[in-house]
């Protein structure tokens, strides 16, 4: 994986020193909250309901064992023994004291981590497919490009005060696991007819109060032009993006108001000025970054098949986990493993200090010291020999992280909601927990099949509810929590925004409503391989409306 060079080390150390000084001056009263607030936000420090919150970057979701162990250490020493992995492949701590944050940042820097640009109107952590480097369907590892973007965008003087935050995602596979069409810029690494690498470029995706699916503005951008083209997009946005209204400031609004054709023309015109100048990436530079992401040496381990066959006979639960949480690797003797942070009835995305440490051990012992955070709030071991899967499974069972529910209804994305978040209008975690408990039976979940359920505690949509097959949005109505349901959203290569199905449900009703939706689907699907989203696209909302609300209309 990427290792800091001298420049990176100096840069991060300098930032730790600078922010430590700013914290000290704030605590001594030398600077006011108005002066300090933008400074703390530039370093990932928010104020939430109960305490400060620190958001730490996990660039493109990639971590090693020492880094995860350090996160466990921070959880134990400075927080309350746990952390929350987020849809942006980052981690948040919910209870750090401001006075401890300099020490936390120094600890992070010692393992090449930081919290820079995890907030503010700048280019945020670049996210990528969590199976990058391992996926069988990948054209190229997207992370070298994400790293190039990270280097370019870090404290970029022109793009540090944009109209609004800016999020970039990269996938290297046809099957989009990075939700690129919900981002300000989405990049799909592909090859052209001549076999050269480049990108399909999407802009203007986003969630929040105005969800929009990104528009493709270029089918193929040569890889050498990555930075010049992104600069052109950012320049057009920086110049014309609205600064008069925070809710209209994202590039999605500019794209929508300008029109795809016109904005494409503007970007292309700007790019003509830039493309043959210093932003052109020399091939040697790209290959040098590539080298950091060279896959680990994957020796043939053909004994895996026999070992797995035996272990399957021995343990039904192992067999279930294998079917659900383990996916094909490009090397036939290996697999990629999803470590579910969605234990039945648990808080989605939370992990304890000792779980983090134990997972770090597993990664070091069995997975070439590589880990990923997925945008679905799980951890991933991208490279595990099939022969070692049983040992990995056993180790995960020991720490309660072997729930075999990847992509099933209890694999819920949930934002922190009103239990932590100062902007929330309703709680989201308890709803996730109750739904998870209602569908606790893994047999029932498998019978239902792939179903992406996503919950946000306010319209900012951090929990991706707009693009859930089933989305739940918590709002406040007359002082109580009310949950609005959307159906038919999706965040893959066929991204769509879900449609509101009807009146919202109280916290007592919402789980029943979800069960009714699921039962309706089970009753109308053509066969078990027709997924919820496919069935919904075939039949539309009518049968679900009927199931949820027909009684009311008759009664009325």
């Amino acid at each position: 994986m990427y290792r800091y060079d001298e420049f990176d080390h100096d840069f991060v150390q300098a930032r730790v020193a600078e922010f430590s000084d700013q914290v000290e001056r704030r605590l001594s009263g030398e600077i006011t909250e108005e002066q300090f607030r933008p400074l703390r936000l530039m370093n990932g420090v928010y104020l939430q309901l109960h305490a400060y919150m620190l958001r730490i970057a996990v660039p493109y979701g990639t971590l090693n064992g020492a880094q995860l162990r350090m996160l466990g250490h921070i959880a134990r020493k400075y927080d309350k023994g746990y952390g929350h992995f987020t849809t942006r492949q980052n981690i948040q701590f919910n209870w750090p004291a401001l006075s401890d944050i300099p020490a936390i940042l120094a600890d992070l820097a010692s393992v090449e981590m930081h919290a820079i640009q995890t907030s503010g109107n700048c280019i945020r952590n670049v996210t990528a497919d969590h199976f990058a480097g391992a996926a069988a369907d990948e054209v190229a590892d997207p992370r070298p490009y994400a790293e190039i973007l990270r280097q370019w965008s870090s404290v970029h003087p022109e793009f540090s005060f944009l109209p609004r935050k800016f999020k970039i995602a990269v996938t290297g596979a046809e099957r989009d696991r990075a939700a690129i069409q919900t981002h300000d810029i989405g990049l799909h690494v592909k090859k052209n007819a001549a076999g050269e690498l480049g990108f399909a470029v999407y802009i203007g995706g986003g969630q929040g109060r105005t969800p929009m699916v990104a528009k493709k503005i270029r089918d193929f951008l040569p890889e050498a032009d990555l930075l010049s083209y992104c600069t052109a997009i950012l320049r057009v946005y920086n110049l014309y993006g609205r600064r008069d209204n925070k809710y209209k400031a994202r590039i999605k609004i500019l794209v929508h108001e300008t029109g795809v054709e016109e904005i494409t023309r503007q970007v292309e015109a700007e790019w003509q000025e830039l493309k043959d100048a210093e932003l052109k990436l020399p091939d040697a530079d790209i290959r040098a970054i590539d080298a950091y992401f060279a896959p680990p040496p994957l020796a043939d381990r053909p004994e895996g098949d026999a070992a797995i066959k035996l272990a399957r006979l021995d343990s039904k639960s192992f067999s279930d986990w294998l079917d659900q949480n383990v996916v094909t690797h490009r090397h036939p003797d290996y697999a990629a493993v999803t470590i579910s942070l969605k234990g039945i009835g648990e808080v989605p995305g939370d992990a304890t200090d000792s779980q983090m440490e134990a997972v770090a051990d597993i990664a070091e012992n069995y997975a070439f010291d590589e880990l990923r955070v997925s945008h679905e709030q799980n951890l991933i071991l991208p490279h595990v020999a099939r022969a070692d899967l049983k040992a990995v499974y056993d180790a995960l069972v020991d720490i309660g992280l072997a729930t075999a529910n990847s992509n099933l209804i209890s694999d819920i994305i949930s934002c922190p909601g009103l239990d932590y978040c100062a902007l929330a209008t309703a709680r989201s975690i308890p709803i996730a927990q109750e739904i998870s408990l209602r569908f606790a039976s893994l047999e029932r979940q498998r019978e239902i099949g792939e179903l992406k359920l996503k919950i946000s505690g306010c319209i900012n949509a951090c929990g991706h509810h707009h693009v859930g097959h089933i989305g739940i949005l918590g709002v406040e109505k007359k002082g109580s929590e009310l949950y609005q349901v959307t159906l038919g959203g999706s965040a893959d290569e066929n991204t769509s925004v879900g449609e509101i199905i009807g009146r919202g449900f109280s916290s007592e009703e919402i789980t029943d409503a979800i069960e009714q939706i699921v039962d309706t689907y089970l009753g109308l699907r053509l066969n078990p391989s027709e997924r919820f989203i496919d069935a919904y696209r075939r039949v539309g909302p009518a049968p679900f409306k009927e199931a949820l609300y027909a009684g009311e209309t008759k009664a009325a």
Binding site: R26, T32, L47, Q48, H50, A51, D419, I429
Partner: protein, 97 residues
């Protein structure tokens, strides 16, 4: 009725103004029954903010239930107790212990 709440600057912990200082629990927060008392609390909050003791100062609605002060809105109830999903954390943890 209104009470005054904020988060402490050094550690961000939620606090309420009570008996001339900032308490870590809401139970005995000073109540403002009229506009004049609200103004008084607001002035105290503004001064504490200016003195860098607290941040995010707010005057919020509260009731008295069974002799203790209780915020009205769910958001403020959760601030006063801790996450509803982790009863071992926040103010409620100490209360249970």
């Amino acid at each position: 009725m209104k009470i005054l709440t904020a988060n402490r600057l050094t550690d961000g912990i939620a606090v309420w103004y009570a008996d001339g200082g900032w308490a870590e629990t809401v139970d005995h927060a000073d109540l403002a029954h009229d506009k004049a008392a609200e103004d008084r609390l607001e002035a105290i909050g503004a001064k504490a903010y200016a003195d860098n003791e607290v941040v995010d100062v707010n005057l919020i609605d509260a009731d008295v239930v069974d002799g203790v002060v209780e915020p009205v809105r769910l958001r403020e109830k959760i601030r006063a107790a801790g996450p509803t999903i982790r009863e071992d954390l926040g103010k409620q943890a100490a209360r249970a212990a």
